[in-house]
């Protein structure tokens, strides 16, 4: 139960906090050797990434072609171009023609059956091609036991544990969603698949301006600041809103993982560690959000628009292993934990966030409880609640400071500002291997919620 003291602290906090936001980072992280703690990315020396495309129609309805192959191909190229056009990222793609023959699949034939799909997956698993498959009428999804609600899926087919590179991937698109039988627009579909292409490049989800889930306020500043890699699409898309297809946070992270020649002269870096109240134990899975200080001379709210984020412990493993509970199928394999993510203790609460030059506030918040399983953000799934209070960073961090008191961090291009550490207020002792999951949720409520109830 919340103690009166903690309740009071939180109530005080609500009087001041104006906005909540949330995170970014890698989909998979290497473990051990030279790739320890490094994100899995495509080999920068092997650019452009060549993809092959299904020769059939992108979408059809009752046997009638709705989006033909030429148009579908053009759209896929544009979606990849959205990422390629980030000027500070050395990421490029090129169309390498129709899907190559593989096993029982004959080149030039519309991919329509599970057997053809299987053959193509085999070639992707062998890193022979990066196919884009058009399931024009959803029948392929049905064959695979997947229902029509799946708009598309990305399969990282192959990785190299020695180099830390993604070596092959594929995307399957469900054309039902643009055949006129659903209300989805062309640009909504494009945003959804461009999001999948973010995963294709190795990006995880990120959470910024998540308070929109509570207040439904999709104003332009909020939309502009929301990452394309946000787990849910709940506001009009960036393209429909006249905004760049790749928002600020996504552009920063794709550039961080694929730095182009101008990255170092365009971005700076904020790094730090999130600690429990003992100021010694690091806390993983806490969202760290960096927001530009609003410029009162503009009509825009820069604190909503110019935002970047990461989850603490983003390079640390989600499961270091333990010997208490069994793994799947009754095997005691949990002792080995996850093969992804570093085991270096120094990375448990570490974060780093690429930012444009400017002056920022830094704050910590919980990951939204609905962002679990495939919608998860950062290494922990399900997410843990922030074990302390939502708070801002300040120069004299302690476990007893006023959560909404804040100092600013100024970053210049090429500069790394280290040790922006936050000591969480009022946490319970750090979790251990005997902790039950209920414990994780019995912490303070999010400030925004409390504000809503108070007001």
């Amino acid at each position: 139960m919340m103690t009166p003291r903690r309740l009071c602290q939180t109530l005080v906090s609500t009087l001041i906090l104006c906005a909540t936001a949330f995170a970014g980072g890698p989909l998979y992280v290497g473990q051990g050797g030279s790739i320890d703690g490094k994100p899995y990315t495509w080999d920068p020396a092997a650019m452009p990434i060549k993809y092959t495309v299904d020769p059939g129609p992108m979408s059809s309805n009752a046997g009638k072609v709705v989006v033909d192959n030429a148009t579908g191909l053009q759209r896929v190229q544009q979606m990849f171009m959205n990422w390629q056009n980030v000027p500070t990222a050395a990421l490029s793609y090129s169309y390498a023609g129709q899907i190559l023959a593989a096993g029982g699949y004959v080149k030039g034939v519309d991919v329509a059956s599970a057997f053809q799909f299987n053959a193509i997956v085999g070639s992707c698993n062998s890193a022979l091609q990066n196919p884009i498959i058009f399931d024009s009428d959803g029948s392929l999804m049905t064959s695979l036991g997947v229902d029509s609600d799946v708009i598309g899926f990305t399969n990282i087919c192959a990785t190299s544990a020695s180099t830390g590179h993604i070596t092959a991937a594929m995307i399957t698109l469900n054309g039902v969603w643009i055949n006129g039988s659903t209300p989805m627009t062309k640009s909504e579909f494009s945003d959804a698949i461009t999001h999948e292409m973010g995963h294709f490049a190795g990006l995880d989800h990120s959470q910024i301006n998540v308070d929109v889930l509570q207040n439904g306020s999709c104003d332009l500043d909020t939309i502009a600041g929301m990452p394309l890699m946000f787990p849910f699409s709940v506001c009009p898309g960036h393209s429909d809103s006249g905004l760049p297809a790749i928002p600020t946070d996504d552009a920063a992270w794709i550039s961080h993982f694929y730095p182009g020649p101008t990255y170092a002269t365009t971005y700076g870096l904020i790094t730090g560690t999130i600690y429990f109240s003992d100021a010694a134990s690091a806390a993983q899975g806490v969202n760290v959000v960096v927001r530009a200080v609003d410029d009162p001379n503009t009509l825009q709210d820069e604190s909503r628009r110019v935002t970047f984020s990461a989850v603490s412990g983003l390079y640390f493993t989600s499961n270091p292993g333990q010997s208490i509970s069994l793994g799947s199928d009754g095997k005691p394999d949990n002792a080995n934990g996850s093969p992804y993510g570093s085991r270096q203790a120094a990375l448990i609460g570490y974060y780093e966030i690429p930012v444009l030059p400017g002056t920022y506030t830094v704050q910590v918040e919980s990951i939204n409880s609905a962002f679990a399983q495939g919608s998860s953000v950062g290494p922990l799934d399900p997410p843990v609640r922030n074990p302390g209070q939502d708070e801002f960073w300040k120069n004299n961090e302690s476990a007893y400071d006023i959560p909404l008191q804040r100092d600013t961090v100024t970053v210049t291009a090429g500069e790394t500002v280290p040790n922006i550490n936050i000591i969480l207020n009022g946490t319970q002792p750090t979790f251990d291997q005997y902790e039950d999951e209920t414990q994780l949720f019995e912490t303070l409520p999010p400030l925004a919620l409390l504000r809503a109830e108070v007001c």
Binding site: F115, S143, D329
Partner: protein
């Protein structure tokens, strides 16, 4: 409990305001599905516990990774009654291959399963939306929450129920009025599912 009340009032009645909201899942992006839609589309709705979950290649489509899950059935809410249920699900995400898509031995689940395809494959309706994890509080009362923490689970359900002249009990009608995410008492959920499945 004060924490859980706040937690439940946490978020959004709001997923509706976009024309087509979408959810991303492990390597997939999906449209939201509400409980009545899931109840209608599911071929089987089962409450039970995972006996085993193993990752293996599909027997014919050998390049495809699948997970074979066997469950001890506690309650079959839709579909043919059985004491155990085994199904095979296609998985494409590296993490799913590593952690058996987080199906854990002993885990209690409420699953809405799609019809089995000609290749013997199925999956939860709407992927993680049709997969409810059962947890119990300190008194032993069971709660169900899907992979979206039940966000948007009842979007449009009331309207569709009215349009289809469904007769819902007071309890079920109360359940489908919920707009906030968070776990729902399992008994209430099952009663609502039975009514939604029966009237369709």
């Amino acid at each position: 409990m004060i924490q859980s009340r706040w937690l439940r009032s946490a978020i959004f009645p709001v997923i509706l305001f976009l024309a087509v909201p979408v959810f991303s899942q492990r390597g997939a992006i999906t449209a939201p599905v509400s409980l009545d839609q899931m109840s209608r589309r599911a071929d089987r709705i089962v409450h039970g516990s995972v006996i085993s979950a193993r990752v293996e290649p599909h027997p014919q489509l050998t390049n495809l990774s699948t997970i074979v899950i066997t469950m001890q059935v506690q309650d079959m809410l839709k579909g043919k009654a059985a004491t155990t249920l085994t199904f095979r699900q296609f998985i494409w995400d590296l993490r799913d291959k590593q952690d058996a898509a987080r199906y854990l031995k002993g885990q209690e689940l409420l699953l809405f399963l799609n019809p089995v395809s000609e290749y013997g494959l199925t999956s939860p309706v709407g992927l993680e939306q049709g997969r409810f994890r059962i947890t119990r509080d300190r008194t032993g009362k069971a709660y169900a929450a899907n992979g979206r923490d039940n966000a948007g689970l009842f979007s449009g359900t009331q309207q569709r129920a009215r349009a289809q002249h469904m007769k819902l009990s007071v309890k079920a009608a109360t359940v489908v009025q919920q707009t906030n995410p968070g776990p729902i008492p399992l008994d209430d959920m099952k009663q609502t599912i039975r009514e939604l499945a029966r009237t369709q």
